[in-house]
């Protein structure tokens, strides 16, 4: 299940921060993304790999540097998943409203 892998991948503050940075500027270089994360460059690289495995981001070689880009299609799928759950709760809350207001 692709959504599950995405949520698992984002269930970590460092990885979430990487994705946030990418949402402001995609692509970024690996070096840029690794800065000020409070972990080693090697550690950042490891976290990046988790995001790559979950298809949240992908790497693109550009000359001597490596670009990291958000995989928007994958994120879109995750968005759809959440939307489905939100719709379900909307429906339930409508049922609650209807019940409460009509049984008064």
């Amino acid at each position: 299940m692709i959504e599950a892998e995405i949520y698992k991948a984002l269930g970590d503050p460092i990885r979430l921060e990487i994705v946030k940075r990418l949402s402001h500027r995609s692509p970024s270089t690996v070096g840029e993304l690794s800065k000020n994360l409070g972990i080693s460059r090697q550690g950042a690289r490891k976290q990046l790999q988790v995001l790559i495995n979950a298809n949240v981001v992908h790497l693109k070689q550009r000359g001597r540097q490596t670009d990291v880009a958000l995989d928007t299609k994958t994120l879109q799928i995750a968005r759809q998943f959440i939307t489905k759950l939100e719709n379900q709760w909307d429906d339930r809350l409508e049922a609650l409203k209807k019940y409460v207001e009509e049984s008064d």
């Binding site: 599950a4 892998e5 949520y7 984002l10 269930g11 994120l75 339930r92 409203k97 019940y99 409460v100």
Partner: protein, 146 residues
Amino acid sequence: MQDTIRREITIKASKERIYEAIANPEQVTKWFPETLEGNYEVGEQPIFGFGDYGKNQICIIAAQPHEYFAYRWVPGANHFLGDVLIVPNTLVEFRIAEQADGTCLVTLTESGFANLPIELMESAFDQNSGGWDFMLSRLVKHCEAA
């Protein structure tokens, strides 16, 4: 990316009335699960029944009249019967707040999706699609009866 779902609805009723609809076992079955087995009290693990769509055991976490009600459940299980607390689960919270115009704002949050294992999320998807159909069929029934 979100770990939490948050929805709101305004209801024209007192917070006591709304709380009852959520926390009273005889009333919650009028709009949410079709049936309820076991004690619908804090610390207990009653079972929500969704007709043909299966049964889900839940664990009531908090019941604070007339503002807050919370339970944990396994969103992925079509048929989850067992100890909710020893398996990955999500926290469902209802908050009721009075507004200046006499209506109440009901806020629903469900959190913990980021920590659900893959297999569970997979079945959660099926379950929630099923739940969606179930609610629709109930709504249709309700409208036809009216």
